[in-house]
Subunit: 129 residues, 2 copies
């Protein structure tokens, strides 16, 4: 049972620089969970990753995923999102990585961003507590 | 690619009262993610839930799940666990709920714990950053 819109009063959990725990389904049908940076903009979720990491490899095969974001200030308040990957595009200069690093307040630049990718996804459903 | 043992130096993420983001696979094959309390003891993970909530309903059907626990003090450090549910047992007095509430420092007792269950699971693999 999921909602089709962001539940009222929960939008801040997509705006603030919080970690999303991203749930994906591996090739053997069992799930995996990975904390990831994210950006929500223009009704799309975007993530930075590398082409060789499990998240990217799994999402190329099985684009449906979910994520949950917990409010660190009210730890029984969270938002869940089900989404589908629309595109995995190269980010060879690490431009999108830099943007997320700024958003999350991490002062780091990549030595070699050549295998960076941007994972872009469309939210399809929401749940919350 | 998962490890068969808790990676060295990551055990604290299972001992501390942190939230696990639990990834499950719904009936349609897509994942869901839910922040949950947990206890790790005697090589088993335990969770409190109610018999009617999505987590319990999904895990009765598809017992393989994953979870990730992020270190709030070092937010690029986390532990992922793949696990399989061994048992879902009634907790009609809410005894296990009370134990977890104490562990998480929440001063609340249930009005009606009659539909409470304990979900017990065996870890099968680990990943971390």
């Amino acid at each position: 049972v999921t909602l089709s819109q962001i539940p009222e009063g929960y939008g801040d959990l997509l705006e603030r620089p919080l970690f999303a725990h991203v749930a994906v389904v591996a090739q053997d049908g069992t799930p995996r969970s990975y904390p990831m940076w994210f950006l929500y903009e223009d009704d799309r979720l975007s993530f930075t990753n590398t082409s060789g990491r499990p998240q990217t490899r799994i999402l190329r095969r099985t684009p449906q995923f979910a994520m949950s974001v917990l409010d660190p200030d009210q730890p029984y308040r969270y938002l869940g999102v089900a989404a589908t990957v629309e595109a995995i595009t190269p980010d060879p200069a690490g431009t999108f990585f830099d943007r997320l690093a700024d958003r999350y307040g991490l002062d780091v630049r990549l030595d070699d961003p050549s295998d960076r990718v941007i994972i872009t996804a469309r939210p399809a459903g929401f749940w919350r507590q």
